[in-house]
């Protein structure tokens, strides 16, 4: 077992712009099932990463591997310059036990100790400090997290939001090198959630804490994180600033998971891309002729034409399937029209459109796509 990591302050290492967390080729296989496969990730000090993905994609396993609760099959985890886990040959010597990693975790259910008061919960991880230092640290955290009035309460006497703040205070008290948050906002009332996220983000920034938080709700990432990673089936699909993921998703899965728009199937040929909503002018120098691709269509890039009686030069190409009312106006799902002559692979059935124009179910309309920077994706990779 390595003795590098103790709870004492670690010596400063010279390397200058060093990553706080580096993960290389991390794989986790549990009961012959690949949970994480060859994952690479790196975070700088103070970065907050929002990790999203459908349930079962390996998010929680990644957190557990970093925290030391799940054993990697291969790969390296380095936190603050210290190798925590390197299990090439199942050699336990290079696996630092969870309690020596200086990695904090906030659990989905907070995992607060029911038999201890708020103060005792916060003191739990710093019992090795001198009494005075402990008290200072606790008072400081109680004040910052507005828990001073509740310092002697037991956990069950607190509201959900207060419990979460205790969990945060307790995790921050030992000053972890890295903080992991496992769906920390999922148990919080929707109205309180946003407020809390802003509050905690400010706090993490104040402490310059590097953090990874897992969620299945992409909107939480936009509020809370500096960086965003999308996972699927044990792989990291894309990892960048949230704005970049929204503007330039690198795959069908990323765009689809983040619900950046709806999908229009297109046939690419030498002159451009053909869809049931007309021809799109694209530069097809790459020359993948005849292949089926999907255009990411944002509502703002769709032009709606309602067929008036005299308006006969236009031919309807879509009909309304579903209507709901939202604060942005009406929200429609549109499908392609049934036409015996058309190519079945290009049929669409759930094109999303926001509009102020009132339409009725099964009403036929004309949709056109405004020229813009088209984003095409293959469904397969």
């Amino acid at each position: 077992m390595t003795t590098l990591l103790t709870t004492q302050p670690l010596p400063e290492l010279p390397a200058e712009p060093m990553a706080q967390l580096t993960i290389q080729q991390l794989s986790v296989v549990l009961q012959d099932k690949v949970i994480l496969s060859a994952l690479d990730l790196s975070l700088n000090e103070g970065d907050i990463l929002g990790l999203v993905g459908a349930s079962g994609c390996g998010k929680t396993t990644l957190l557990n591997a970093i925290a030391g609760f799940s054993k990697p099959t291969t790969g390296k985890i380095v936190v603050d310059g210290h190798l925590l886990s390197c299990n090439g040959l199942n050699n336990d010597e290079h696996c630092v036990p969870a309690e020596q990693r200086q990695v904090g975790m906030i659990f989905q259910d907070y995992a607060l100790f029911p038999h201890l008061t708020v103060k005792e919960n916060i003191a739990f991880g710093i019992s090795k400090l001198k009494k005075i230092a402990q008290l200072e640290q606790i008072d400081h955290l109680l004040a910052i997290l507005k828990l001073t009035d509740h310092s002697d309460s037991y956990i069950h006497q607190l509201s959900g939001g207060q419990q979460q703040r205790v969990a945060i205070a307790r995790a921050l008290a030992p000053q972890p090198k890295l903080l992991l948050l496992d769906e920390p906002f999922s148990n919080i009332d929707a109205r309180l959630r946003h407020e809390l996220m802003v509050e905690i983000r400010q706090l993490l920034k104040q402490f310059k804490t590097t953090a990874i938080f897992v969620t299945h709700n992409k909107d939480e990432v936009f509020t809370f994180a500096d960086k965003m990673a999308v996972m699927a089936q044990g792989r990291l699909l894309q990892f960048d600033a949230p704005s970049i993921l929204c503007q330039q998703p690198n795959s069908y899965q990323v765009a689809d998971f983040l619900q950046l728009g709806s999908w229009l199937p297109c046939q690419v040929n030498s002159v451009g891309a053909q869809s049931l909503l007309g021809k799109l002018d694209i530069d097809n120098s790459s020359g993948n002729n005849g292949s089926l691709v999907y255009l990411l269509v944002k509502s703002a890039n769709l032009l709606l034409n309602v067929l008036a009686d005299g308006n006969t030069h236009l031919k309807a190409n879509a009909q309304v399937e579903y209507i709901s009312v939202t604060e942005q106006g009406y929200h429609y799902y549109l499908s392609s029209l049934d036409d015996a002559a058309m190519d079945k692979s290009m049929v669409f059935d759930k094109l999303s459109l926001y509009s102020d124009i009132a339409l009725s179910i099964k009403q036929q309309v004309v949709l056109t796509i405004k020229p813009h920077d088209f984003l095409f994706f293959n469904k397969s990779n």
Partner: protein, 542 residues
């Protein structure tokens, strides 16, 4: 998440504990079942068929009666507007505290030819001799079945009541909306849904019946348990006693297996307990019948025997009795404290091992150690005798060989054997209580200490054990009380001149002199009330 730790010492000791708990029973089974066919043939030609027949018949009648008492009282309490419902709800549990052999003795005393009831009847009607009238004879197999059912039915009542109360009320509401009356809903929905609970509790009653020794012995109904006892203590035939114990063991094994098979896939759970349900309104005559039924159970199973005991105690108690009570009481206390403490330590060790360790088979030690509860006390006692006896001889031989004087029967001839036997028998109770306490600790609490830099030892002493304190206390108390009450194993294993409260009372009962031990009997009943109070409390919390 994987389990956190991999402590080799803990692993080794867990498997070792499980092994030690199971080995005596295995030794007995191997010895008993490999006994000569001649012995079996002899047993089969002489006593075994009637013993088996009595055992099976007794079990059948007890279960039938206990089901009748238990299911109906549970139905009445949960589904109707019976008067004094709040009182009856817990009063119906009290017969559990009453040992069946006490009830048997007291009622025999009461209804005997020379007892007060028949005397009064004779005075009243002017009868002269037994030939003038018919009166039921309690000291028969049906009588024994009734005695056992009167004190065992609360198992069925308790679990069935719990099942009714925890049923999803929307199921009942749905059946009402589909046109069924409250009464029809009970029979068509609530009762079928409670089937798993009824089956579990019936198998509990069945096992208690198979384990009973004193009641059948007192009524001279020869069952397998009495046969084991007589064969060993009467004829000193360890081989035959072992063989009989093995047969009884297989019978119990069969019951456990059947119960588990019938239960598989029959679990109904609900997150919405059925608390403010609509009750069946009883008519006046129904109200009277239901009340008489419930109050009769409470009276016959608990109140009347207790009153009889108190009268006895008031009439016959003296200083000499108190001093005997004190010395046997101290013996009982000693045994029970040892047993409860060891059982709780084992349960904690195995329960936390299972929870915290990364071992594919981590459940195995706990499952094995819970096995003993199904085994009747007589069988465990035979297991101890057949294992510890040879072990003692071996120890003596070794010690003499080294050159010291032989220590004697230090294992089989001391309270070690009793304590060991009772730990095997009651570990399951401690296991169950502590395992459910551990289950209530969220999994994340296993991980959070490590994320705060605290190791396994710190996690155990600062998180798990403090949180488990109430469960530990309850487990200790439950085992303590069971050990106080246990009789057959103590009777077979006690060293010379060593009496516990229960063995002394049994002795007095056999000698028809319970008056001498009425105070001790009351004490046992009072101890027996403790777990009922606890159970009732924890049930109410849910």
């Amino acid at each position: 998440m994987i389990a956190l730790y991999n402590s080799r010492l803990w692993k080794l000791s867990s498997y070792l504990i499980a092994l030690v708990l199971i080995v005596p029973v295995l030794v007995m089974l191997v010895g008993g079942l490999s006994a000569s066919t001649q012995l079996f043939a002899h047993l089969w030609q002489t006593v075994l068929p009637s013993y088996l027949e009595n055992t099976v018949l007794l079990a059948f009648w007890v279960v039938l009666l206990a089901l009748f008492f238990g299911v109906f009282s549970a139905g009445i309490i949960t589904q109707t507007n019976i008067v004094f419902k709040q009182q009856l709800r817990w009063l119906l549990l009290l017969p559990l505290a009453m040992p069946a052999y006490l009830v048997a003795y007291l009622y025999t005393d009461l209804f005997d030819y020379a007892g007060p009831v028949q005397r009064a009847l004779r005075d009243w009607f002017g009868w002269q001799s037994p030939n003038d009238y018919w009166f039921f004879d309690l000291r028969t197999l049906p009588g024994a079945a009734l005695m056992l059912a009167l004190v065992l039915f609360p198992y069925i009542y308790m679990l069935t009541r719990g099942a009714f109360e925890q049923q999803d009320q929307s199921l009942i509401r749905a059946s009402r909306l589909l046109g069924l009356t409250a009464k029809q809903s009970f029979f068509k929905v609530a009762l079928p849904l409670a089937r798993p609970a009824i089956a579990v509790s019936a198998s509990l009653v069945l096992m208690e019946t198979l384990a009973d020794f004193a009641t059948v012995q007192y009524f001279s109904v020869n069952t397998l348990t009495t046969a084991i006892y007589d064969t060993w203590l009467g004829y000193g035939d360890l081989g035959a006693a072992n063989a009989l114990a093995s047969i009884l063991m297989l019978l119990v094994f069969f019951v456990v297996l059947t119960e588990q098979r019938s239960r598989a896939g029959l679990r109904h759970q609900s997150a919405r307990p059925n608390l403010n349900r609509e009750l069946i309104k009883l008519s006046v005559s129904q109200q009277i019948i239901a009340s008489v039924f419930c109050w009769a159970l409470v009276t016959l199973g608990f109140l009347l025997p207790l009153i009889l005991l108190i009268i006895m105690a008031v009439q016959y108690s003296d200083i000499a009795q108190l001093s005997v009570l004190l010395s046997t009481g101290v013996n009982s206390l000693k045994v029970s404290v040892f047993v409860a403490t060891i059982a709780v330590v084992i349960a904690l060790s195995l329960g936390l091992y299972q929870r915290l360790h990364n071992d594919k088979y981590r459940k195995v030690p706990q499952v094995i150690s819970g096995f003993g509860y199904a085994i009747p006390g007589t069988v465990i006692a035979m297991a101890m005798l057949s294992t510890l006896g040879p072990l003692d001889h071996w120890i003596n031989a070794v010690v003499e060989y080294i050159g010291f004087s032989a220590p004697g029967l230090i294992l089989s001839g001391s309270i070690f054997a009793i304590v060991f036997a009772l730990v095997v028998r009651f570990s399951a109770i401690a296991n169950g209580t502590i395992a459910s306490g551990i289950k209530q600790i969220p999994q994340s609490l296993d991980y959070s200490p490590a994320s705060l830099g605290v190791n396994l030892k710190g996690s155990l002493t600062r998180v798990h054990l403090p949180i488990l304190t109430p469960a530990i206390l309850v487990a200790w108390l439950l085992v303590f009380v069971e050990a106080m009450k246990e009789l057959p194993a103590v009777l077979l294993l006690r060293p010379f001149n060593f009496e516990t409260l229960s063995s002394q009372i049994y002795q007095l009962i056999s000698d028809e002199m319970l008056e001498q031990g009425a105070l001790g009997a009351i004490l046992i009943v009072l101890f027996g009330l403790l777990p009922i109070v606890l159970l009732n409390k924890s049930k109410d919390k849910v």
